[in-house]
């Protein structure tokens, strides 16, 4: 029996089982919960890398659950895009898991930590499940697992977070319901739920109104889940008031997986030509996301609260990705998929730093960042790297995805959007250099609050790792593109 041929299912099942076992451990030996939790996510990272290697070496992986043939049973289909996403999600969840050790202690009561770890694992499970599955209804189930745990993780933050979580629940449920309606419509006219089966069946039905409606509902539903601009209302509050570990994890993974689902629905379930040529949808989405970028950046300037600023920047970044996907040429798609990785690193790193600062000075207000480099030089160095990457200064990672997006926009002739992209990087420059100036060139008046040292090592290491990753991955973007992303291009690009 060879485990590596099962790794595509194990990556979902292992964190799942771990989340149950965590409950037992809570009653047996509470101290073991955290090590176990981190260990499991470490195993997930190993598995995900194994999956990626398998995909690169042997091409698409298919796994028939319960041994049933595809349209009747559920099957997992893993191509380069999934594998890439799995690696991102697993490694970010692992890194943030390390980070959560100390940061969570201040925000959640000791007795509840095991339940927190279980929920965290369930969120990871949900995300993995969404990523690997090849069945639209199975995707919905795991979407709900992820969403439920995300609602809870948001709600255990500070006082305001509960209301935020409630809005998240309402919006998220609307999104899920729309997705489910889309599934229903597709099912009624095809009778199948399996993505590759549907890819075969749908082209004959492109004329039907039902198909178009289904696609529209899919897109709106996912648009809510990824907080595309007018539907973003739940995101800033949730990520601002959630525990810092949670906001780091969620911001780095949840929205990215949403983007992945969008890609799957629009380019695998349907053919690219349906979205791009036969319907105006991609054109609508391009302008929609351009607006998202513009307003996300614009609103981000005005914010006092650092985490809130980051949330709005995240909204703009989501706009980038949706834009890149829908341009409909090679560069744009590459840029978007590359940006999924870079953005999850940058946003994750920045949210972790925000959490670290909050951990020390108990404030998220940008005004209180004065002279922090005296107290936490390493963290602030990491912050500088992440900030430069956000602005898109080469050779940090952020530049390259932005480069491809802009080239794609110019080649496809969307010059306005290109200008907006550049505008938003200028806005990032404004925001981040304002903060950097406070950090490095302003003396802090209220010294008593600031007599502390660097972060605890368990929070420092993840931040440093991500910061270094931003630098290194930037240099190897070419590798990533040629070995992974190139193969995930939809046909016709």
């Amino acid at each position: 029996m060879n485990l590596s041929e099962h790794s595509s299912i194990l990556i979902v099942v292992i964190p799942l089982i771990a989340s149950f076992v965590n409950i037992f451990l809570n009653f047996l030996q509470r101290k073991l919960c955290y090590p176990f939790f981190v260990l499991v996510l470490g195993i997930c990272v190993a598995l995900s890398i194994d999956i990626l290697c398998q995909v690169i070496n042997f091409g698409v992986l298919r796994y028939r659950l319960g041994g049933w043939m595809a349209p009747w049973g559920i099957e997992y289909v893993i191509d380069h895009l999934n594998a890439y996403l799995i690696v991102i999600v697993s490694s970010m969840s692992f890194i943030v898991a390390i980070y959560s050790k100390d940061s969570v202690k201040k925000e959640i009561s000791k007795a509840k930590l095991p339940y927190f770890y279980s929920t965290y694992l369930l969120l990871a499970t949900g995300l993995f499940g969404i990523t690997v599955t090849g069945d639209i209804f199975n995707l919905y189930v795991f979407l709900e697992i992820a969403s439920l745990s995300a609602y809870a993780l948001v709600a255990i933050g500070e006082k305001r977070s509960v209301l935020a979580s409630f809005h998240y629940i309402i919006m998220g449920t609307i999104g899920a319901c729309f997705y489910l309606l889309g599934v229903g419509y597709i099912y009624i006219i095809t009778g199948s739920l399996n993505i590759s089966d549907l890819t075969r069946l749908l082209p004959s039905l492109y004329e039907s109104k039902v198909t178009l409606t289904a696609l529209a509902f899919f897109i709106v539903g996912i648009g809510i889940k990824i907080a595309l601009f007018p539907l973003h209302r739940w995101l800033p509050d949730s990520y601002t008031f959630a525990p810092s570990a949670v906001s780091a994890f969620a911001s780095a993974t949840v929205t990215k997986v949403g983007i992945y689902v969008l890609i799957r629905i629009s380019f695998t379930l349907f053919e690219p030509k349906f979205l791009i040529e036969m319907t105006p949808l991609s054109n609508i989405l391009i302008w929609w996301s351009t607006i998202a970028i513009f307003f996300g950046s614009l609103i981000a300037i005005g914010q006092k609260d650092f985490k809130r600023t980051l949330s709005y920047i995240l909204i703009a970044e989501i706009g980038y990705m949706v834009f890149g996907i829908n341009i409909g040429n090679k560069e744009g798609f590459i840029g978007a998929v590359l940006h999924i990785l870079n953005d999850s690193l940058m946003i994750g790193c920045l949210f972790m730093i925000a959490g670290g600062v909050f951990y020390r000075i108990g404030s998220r207000n940008i005004e209180d960042f004065n002279g922090l480099n005296r107290n936490m030089p390493i963290t602030m160095a990491a912050f500088t790297i992440a900030a430069l990457s956000m602005i898109g200064i080469p050779p940090t990672a952020g530049f390259f995805s932005k480069w491809y997006l802009i080239v794609g926009a110019v080649k496809a002739g969307y010059l306005v959007s290109a200008v907006i992209l550049i505008f938003s990087s200028l806005v990032n420059a404004l925001i981040f250099f304002r903060i950097l100036e406070k950090i490095y060139f302003t003396k802090n008046e209220n010294t008593p609050m600031y007599n502390f040292r660097e972060l605890p090592i368990s929070m420092m290491i993840p931040i440093v790792i991500t910061a270094l990753a931003i630098l290194i991955i930037g240099l190897y973007s070419g590798e990533i593109i040629s070995s992974v992303i190139k193969f995930s291009l939809p046909k016709g690009f």
């Binding site: 439920l148 509960v162 409630f166 629940i169 489910l180 309606l181 099912y187 739920l193």
Partner: protein
Amino acid sequence: METVIGKYNYWIYIALMMIGFYAMIAKRNLVKKIVGMNIFQTAIILFFISTAYKKDATIPILIKSQEVIDPAKYINPLPHVLMLTAIVVMVSTFGVALAVIMMLYKQYKTLDEDEIIEILRKKK
């Protein structure tokens, strides 16, 4: 007339969905929002179930395994299965939402969104 006969079930369920949807986005009382959520999801479930129905067919439990089985005689089991899942999801979401609402009530001693926002603004 044909279409009305053929499609009225969908229309009823869609009307139900929209009632729930309206409650979710328009009502200011948190519990009413949740109730709207339930109506929405229930309507979707009914919608799915109705797609499973075939004229003069029975529930998909095969009495005698010997006879040659004609699928047209039994209604489509798949939507029922999916909806079992959807029901459970709905219940779980409902539970979580209720828990959050109770936390909110503990904090603000009210269930009206406007009042809560008012309280928050005062705090600022």
